[in-house]
Symmetry: C2
């Protein structure tokens, strides 16, 4: 069977609606629970409130928890508000701790406190612990439902233990080995467990070079490790190597998606590109702050040109090439910036050194600047039949491209040094700097060589 | 142990170099094979050619295959060229078929043919089959090393089979169930296998609602499914539901990275943002084509302004606001475009309908346009003490933002309809269209109301 496409979802949906309408609990449960929780969530969020209330009585807290884990957390609040609080608390207790924590971070603090009060103590404690970790660190994305064994166990004992723990564990494909002080000393994959003899000791077959991350590690760095090393899960430890939790590959995929969309949004100068279901006001709210900043930055450019009003009055034709030159500066700066931001993100630049990169960007700027400058000199010469105007425009483009390329890579490197996320620099900042630089060069040259132009 | 940082790599590297220099095979093997293949690859690619040749004699083809799977495929060619061809063929035979195919796609055709000739027939046939699939489809990223069982087997028989297959399989965490005609009929996770009783039948415990993808499915769609459904692997079938291969989550992470970097590169108008180790010429080559296109598109803008030379001659101060207005058009267009491209990529727009989206973008444009226009009218009025100039600039910004926002979402939708990747439209295209629109509006209004300005 393929995954559910829209038509199949419509059919299943009709059956489920029918069951709900006729109060056929069994039929509803049979149809609904057959679906993957992702599809359950898609159907669930399309329902009216009274139908959802009916569903809460048809499903167990555990089954509702599966559905909730696949709802967009930005939009989950109303569902937990409409559930009876004791039921909602049970649903939270049945969720993976990492998902429960993510959802709690979206709810208001009073509501969270009230859920934690009615919740089972063990579950509440686990969640409280995780709520302390800073966003986007290992601690905030890890789960505490993992399986551990002692190094002295036999394979047989470990397998028995694993079978008992399996229902609650986030993954059983890696089992972590701890010593008497609960320090992480090894890892063994289920693959290795099932091909080992039952009487062997864990300590004989475990891998002692277990790769772990510290609880404060940045999620982007963790995503890079999981991708490079092809892990399905990574253990999280404190500074004394005590095992605190694990991060599984499905959470890593969400991190990758989040980080990619973050970088993309920043390059486009917009706070969050990923909610095309917003209304016009919500989406204007996300874009307007950037646009207003850009407006003020643009006014800077305007006032700079204003200083050359005399030059403009004498040779009005100069105005024709302003958007072209400023545009080229913005474009080449964005290119260099994108390469630098990605290089910082992937760690490539750290590896090969900043100077080497600046040198290469300077070279790139010289080559692209020379080519475009020469081309433009010819175009303007032929079009306007004015050699000096052509030379002026061409020379401006040459200089602009060299400087703008360098600025495009220098600015993110500086921001990175100052511990600011370099992706923030992208759109507005670099483009305005380069607008200013390009206009200074263009009108500076024009004013200096005015006698050749008129 | 944390993963290797630069300093640790230096230490290990010193030991390994020492072993190589003194011809201590055992010491080399002990140090080198202890590392994760990802780290092995990082050390390996930093070595001189004669040292690499020495390593090929110290390691088995299988061990070299592990290293090669973690080298960047763009840069892998020299390594396979320097190996003895029979050894290289053995290395390929030991690799996952999907990785071997990816590498073959980077080598020239004659070399591939010669490797396939000396390779073991079975391995060669598997790779040949995969070489036929189109790039970026399920077929091109799947591997053929998966484990299948028959529905009539007992759990015990299945586990015995699994233990035998484990060393060669890409993953054993999912076992696929096929019928007599080799059609995919179910899936069973290793988790379910180990908690089931040994005498139960596979057909009793398998999940019959197995989600699969067809061999021609686009890799981006597959990545979305794996992420939404939290799969560790997905089976690939032909149109008759025969199981052809599987796609594992580690390949999906590479796809996600590739697609994200692709979209990002296109927004920055650069062919490939991801190789900061290029030399200046190589990186100029990637950027120059875009810059030249932009240069010609910019010339269009220039010639459009040229048509308003008379207006400019009369009111030279108009030139001051050209970059501001064109810049705002470009920025708002890029914002709308980024939202539309992401919406198309994630399928959100398909779901909610194009008209709803256009309507929302129109609303957003009206709100942002009105706010920015009003603000700019005030700024220009105060700064230049000219109310009509302020009104002209403000009105131009209002109209420009409305039209540019609409254009920014309309263009990618049109391209999507025409089956062109909408991300291509990004940087240059939308910015130029919006430059032209904004200048037409600004100078059109200025020319029409000239008498109020002078």
């Amino acid at each position: 069977m393929e995954h559910l496409d829209d038509q199949e979802r419509q059919e299943v949906w009709a059956n489920i609606k029918d069951a709900l309408f006729n109060d056929h609990i069994d039929q509803f449960r049979a149809e609904f629970l057959e679906l993957h929780p992702y599809d359950q969530a898609r159907i669930f969020e399309d329902l009216e409130k009274d139908v959802r209330l009916q569903i809460y009585t048809y499903l167990s807290p555990e089954e509702v928890a599966d559905v909730m884990e696949h709802i967009d957390y930005d939009e989950i609040e109303p569902f937990f508000t409409e559930m009876a609080p004791p039921f909602a608390a049970q649903v939270f207790a049945e969720m993976s701790t990492d998902d429960a924590v993510d959802i709690f971070n979206e709810l208001d603090k009073d509501k969270v406190a009230s859920f934690l009060t009615i919740m089972d103590d063990d579950a509440a404690d686990e969640i409280k612990d995780l709520l302390h970790y800073e966003e986007k660190t290992a601690g905030s994305i890890m789960t505490t439902e993992f399986v551990v064994v002692k190094a002295g166990m036999t394979i047989r004992e470990a397998m028995v233990h694993l079978r008992t723990e399996a229902p609650d564990a986030e993954t059983i494909y890696y089992t972590y080995v701890i010593d008497e002080d609960k320090r992480l000393v090894g890892v063994i994959s289920l693959r290795d467990l099932i091909i080992s003899e039952e009487e062997w000791l864990i300590s004989d077959v475990m891998n002692e070079r277990v790769v772990s991350v510290s609880v404060g590690e940045d999620q982007e760095e963790i995503a890079r490790m999981v991708r490079d090393y092809d892990f399905l899960a990574l253990p999280v430890v404190d500074f004394q190597d005590h095992l605190l939790g694990i991060i599984t590959v499905d959470d890593i995929m969400d991190v990758m998606e989040e980080e990619a969309s973050d970088d993309y949004s920043k390059l486009a100068a917009i706070s969050d590109v990923d909610s095309p279901d917003d209304h016009a006001f919500a989406s204007a709210k996300k874009r307007l702050p950037w646009l207003v900043i850009l407006l003020f930055l643009g006014s800077l450019t305007a006032s700079l040109i204003g200083r050359f009003e005399e030059t403009l009055d004498q040779v009005a034709i100069l105005a024709i090439f302003i958007p072209l030159i400023a545009g080229m500066a913005g474009n080449t700066g964005t290119q260099a910036l994108a390469v630098a931001v990605r290089g910082i993100t992937t760690g490539e630049i750290e590896k090969q050194g900043k100077w080497k990169m600046m040198l290469r960007e300077a070279g790139t700027g010289l080559i692209t600047g020379f080519s475009c400058g020469l081309l433009m000199t010819l175009i303007v010469y032929i079009w306007q039949e004015n050699f000096f105007l052509g030379l002026l425009v061409g020379l401006s483009i040459f200089l602009t491209l060299v400087v703008a390329t360098l600025a495009g890579s220098l600015v993110p490197l500086l921001m990175h040094r100052l511990k600011i996320d370099p992706a923030v620099a992208s759109g507005p900042f670099i483009t305005t700097i380069n607008d200013l630089i390009s206009i200074m060069i263009y009108f500076g040259l024009a004013t200096a060589f005015m006698n050749l132009l008129i």
